[in-house]
């Protein structure tokens, strides 16, 4: 039954695709065709919805996602800190299916054939596409930390940098830790997903310790020279709220781990913690990295900022954390959502035989909790620049909070509820 349905759907998709090509030759008309979106996170879910909404249903969209539900990385530090539950950050894909008519398939894409414009699925079979969107997030470079390059080590020393089972497991490790223990969080060199995220996590763990395990400590092992985001606001929170609890160490890149002793091995030093939370360096998600797309620094996909298409593989659009970012652009869920809309508009133009919008704009807002109620933000607006062929931050716009405050604590939750609805319902 399932197969029949899939075949029927593909027939419709292929027919629509042929029509799109005809319209393409004619140089105008309504967009139609079949777009396959790989990855249902902030980028992929957004583009799936916006393609259906903006095309008024004339473009067929298949979303392939390995997880049964969406789990948000933003706000997941509040689960680790004890303020929120997994239920609060988990959302069904039913809205995309039932309200927007997106075909959602729970599976893994194992291969992309960009010449035949097809993908293969782990459970078998595959499908053709007129345009492909890869929004795979990141995968970790465990080989950079040899002791962590096996499943057993990874089950003990967590990253919790993808929300899900590891979020719960890290919370459990913190709950099980004795008072007087040490939690260490290791941050990789930039660029990495969610620049302020590790510092927010340090704050929320320290907040938990302050209230429940007051003799305990938080140590930040940062591979970077300095705090990479909202520096003044974070360091003020550490000295005002967590004096004697949070210790910050810069230039402290983790080179290896001694799993048996829960010890991080740095270049000239070692650090033993009761709860060791290592965020390994990461790169574009596997499917983007192995599909022949041009990578920068062998890690991030190079994209055309008018369409989010791979610069060497037209027809394949890449969103979110997997791309080589534009100047000062963070790897954030908010930004991935904006990439999704930029690419949705471009794809609909392309499927109708038109050029993408020549003047795209994207913007970012990122809220971080420094305790259960007080929040700080960073915001930026990026406009396309014809000379550099990328989106450039607008000078004089954007910035950070004047000071941590509770008003933005409410705004942060409001942001989450609105962006989740914007993506999924």
């Amino acid at each position: 039954m399932m197969l029949m349905k899939r075949r029927d759907f593909l027939k419709v998709g292929a027919a629509a695709g042929a029509m799109a090509s005809l319209y393409g030759c004619a140089g105008g008309g309504k967009a139609s065709g079949h777009v396959v979106v790989v990855g249902g996170g902030y980028g992929g879910a957004t583009i799936a919805k916006y393609l259906r909404m903006w095309s008024e249903g004339s473009v067929q969209v298949t979303l392939i996602e390995r997880n049964p539900t969406f789990i948000s990385c933003p706000i997941s530090n509040l689960v680790i800190g004890g303020q929120k539950t997994m239920e609060d950050i988990t959302i069904s894909y039913d809205g995309l299916k039932n309200k927007w008519g997106v075909r959602v398939i729970q599976d893994d894409v194992v291969a992309v054939n960009t010449e035949k414009r097809s993908i293969s699925l782990a459970k078998g079979g595959g499908m053709n596409y007129d345009r492909l969107v890869l929004s795979p997030g990141v995968d970790f470079m465990f080989d950079q930390i040899p002791g962590l390059n096996n499943a057993d080590a990874q089950s003990k020393i967590l990253h919790a940098w993808k929300a899900g089972a590891q979020t719960v497991a890290l919370r459990k490790q913190l709950e099980n830790m004795k008072d007087g223990g040490t939690y260490a969080i290791a941050i990789p060199k930039a660029p990495y997903r969610c620049p302020p995220g590790p510092y927010e996590r340090a704050c929320l763990v320290a907040n938990y310790f302050k209230q429940n395990k007051p003799k305990s400590k938080v140590v930040i092992l940062d591979a970077n020279e300095d705090v990479t985001s909202k520096k003044g606001l974070f360091t003020k929170a550490w000295s005002d709220l967590y004096k004697g609890i949070i210790e910050y160490r810069n230039n402290s890149e983790v080179k290896d781990v001694d799993v048996a002793n829960n010890t991080a091995i740095l270049e000239f030093d070692k650090f033993k913690a009761d709860v060791l939370n290592i965020i390994p360096p990461h790169r574009a998600g596997d499917i983007a990295a192995k599909s022949g797309l041009k990578l920068i620094n062998n890690r991030w996909v190079d994209v055309n900022w008018l369409s989010m298409e791979s610069t060497n593989t037209p027809g394949v659009h890449v969103l979110g954390d997997a791309i080589f970012p534009a100047p000062t652009m963070p790897k954030s869920g908010h930004m991935a959502n904006q990439h999704g809309k930029l690419a949705a508009a471009a794809i609909l133009n392309q499927l109708a035989g038109q050029e993408p919008n020549p003047t795209p704009v994207v913007m970012n807002t990122c809220y971080s909790f420094v305790d259960a109620k007080n929040v700080i933000h960073v915001a930026s607006v990026h406009q396309y620049d014809e000379v550099t062929k990328t989106v450039q931050p607008v000078k004089g716009a954007g910035g950070v909070s004047m000071a941590r405050n509770e008003i933005e604590g409410k705004a942060a939750i409001g942001w989450a509820r609105n962006i989740w609805a914007d993506m999924l319902t």
Binding site: E355, M363, A379, V381, A411, G414, I419
Partner: protein, 101 residues
């Protein structure tokens, strides 16, 4: 023979100007950059504390944005975001939201 380069040059101009013509969906695209906080098409989630912009009077939206830009209206974040858009872009955004239900 001499005409060919001239025609080629002319069509180049035509192609270039076509590529730079404003996208007919520019207002929609720009307004979508606000939806992360203000909801899809300006329909914010109820009770989440964000302004719902769908159907709001265009002049009212523009006045708010101008006041954020000038600093007349105190803000936590909108004074920083509004400065990232040109007046023409804000006009398109306000027009798009005003036309939504």
């Amino acid at each position: 023979m001499k005409l060919l380069p001239a025609i080629a040059a002319l069509s180049l101009v035509a192609v270039t100007s076509a590529a730079h013509a404003a996208d007919p969906n520019l207002g929609r695209n720009l307004a979508a950059t606000c939806a992360n906080c203000h909801g899809t098409n300006g329909n914010a989630v109820e009770g989440a504390g964000m302004d719902s912009l769908a159907g709001m009077d265009k002049a009212k939206i523009l006045r708010k944005l101008a006041d954020y830009k000038s600093g007349d209206k105190p803000a936590t974040i909108m004074h920083q975001i509004s400065k990232g858009y040109t007046e023409a872009q804000l006009d398109l955004i306000a027009g798009y939201f005003a036309a939504q239900k």
